[in-house]
Symmetry: C2
Subunit: 255 residues, 2 copies
């Protein structure tokens, strides 16, 4: 960040990066403070961004991300485009289960949720689309970690693992054994690792049936219904294969 | 655009705006050409954007929108946040119909699709999430137009209306009468106006039951099944009311 700070382009990026899913609406001085810029500079950059549609102003005078920026970002292959391919399969899975169906990708040692389908009957989750979690913390994250480059795995295994619940695996050796099992079995049941109220079943999504792992697909159910988890392995794997095949087909078409 | 062109911040915006849903992947020279910038300038800006994660580079050397930009944009209230509120209702509607369920907002005289739910059994559409259409062209657009400020309506009615199909209404007086009917009946059936193979049923989404119209909700079905369209009015309206109530509730909570 600091390397780009001095340039005008860097200031644009500093201002934009003060916004995220948790900070959707900010006053000018909040933006200035978070971006570490003078108020006058912030005002100039925000005005420029607003003129272009990247930021919009609410009736209360606060600023939020504009539709124009979202339109550009909706071409992001690793989130929106992946999601478009996955959606019909997620849809089938939702309809068969009425549970939360999630799609996530790995970014370094974190996972980012790129899509969730949930209905009125699905259990409430702590995660949300666009939010990040340490890759070791969730069932979907561990699936992504199992197929990550060796150095990413070591970085996670060598750092302290946060105990989100009394059940969270924090011992690196146990986690390492889990990663082995994921690679063998393809499907992983994550029991109350992130929240005491939820159990996740997760599987890898590849580009083609044998290509690199590009995402994780998961079903999250209430922990009190956890006995249903193993029955979800089969439909989850089928959906993950369906997405993988379609991604493989598209990769061959555009290559 | 030309007013910001000369500044470094303007160049960042110029480069970003060469990307959209139809142009997801571009070479450096394509970006330079579309942004109207020198290749060396483009290289510098792209490198800066890549360092920050707003752009990423594919294995073939081409550039695309990075996950970081998508994460920021996912806080956009008029698309992603609206969509999060609408999704469970869209979900119910999808499950009851297995047709395309769409959500769109108005931006000037255009509409932008912010969400679509579709399964393997839904008819294929020409529209997609993140894409724009003239607000007069589609059923959902006409619903948004019916509740747009008078000057937006006049601008659309005074411009030539494109005939997408032999059925498209291009006579301003007929369109004006349609807008009146939409305001009276709340639900609008748009018969093969954008494509000969589809019929849309659309309804307004408000902030609260009587608040301003913030979006349009639509079901798009195959034209050969158009006799089912009127049966969709009631469930569509129910879903639109559900979303409106929830948006109203949230607006009161955060006010």
């Amino acid at each position: 960040m600091s390397t780009t700070r001095s340039t005008a382009a860097g200031k644009v990026l500093e201002v934009l990066s003060t916004f995220d899913r948790e900070r959707r609406s900010q006053t000018l001085s909040e933006i200035a403070q978070r971006a570490g810029l003078a108020l006058s500079t912030t005002h100039r950059v925000v005005t420029e961004l607003a003129g272009w549609g990247a930021l919009e102003r609410g009736e209360d005078g606060s600023w939020y991300v504009g539709l124009r920026l979202w339109e550009i970002a909706s071409g992001c292959p690793r989130s929106q485009i992946l999601r478009d391919v996955a959606l019909p399969f997620m849809q089938d899975l939702y309809e068969a289960t009425h549970e939360n169906i999630q799609l996530a990708v790995r970014e370094g040692t974190e996972l980012v949720f790129v899509e969730r389908i949930a209905g009125h009957r699905s259990v409430e989750l702590v995660t949300m689309v666009g939010s990040r979690f340490p890759v070791g913390s969730t069932g979907m994250g561990r699936v992504l970690l199992a197929y990550a480059p060796r150095e990413v795995q070591e970085e996670v295994l060598e750092s302290p693992l946060r105990a989100w619940t009394p059940y969270t695996v924090t011992d690196p050796r146990t986690l390492r054994a889990q990663l082995d099992r994921i690679r063998r079995e393809q499907v992983f049941v994550s029991d109350r690792q992130l929240s005491e109220s939820t159990v996740a079943v997760a599987a890898p999504v590849r580009i083609g049936r044998t290509g690199p792992v590009s995402a994780a697909l998961g079903i999250v159910i209430a922990a009190r219904g956890a006995n249903r988890a193993s029955g979800l392995r089969e439909p989850l794997l089928r959906a993950a294969y369906g997405i993988s095949d379609e991604l493989g087909r598209r990769a061959r078409t555009t290559a």
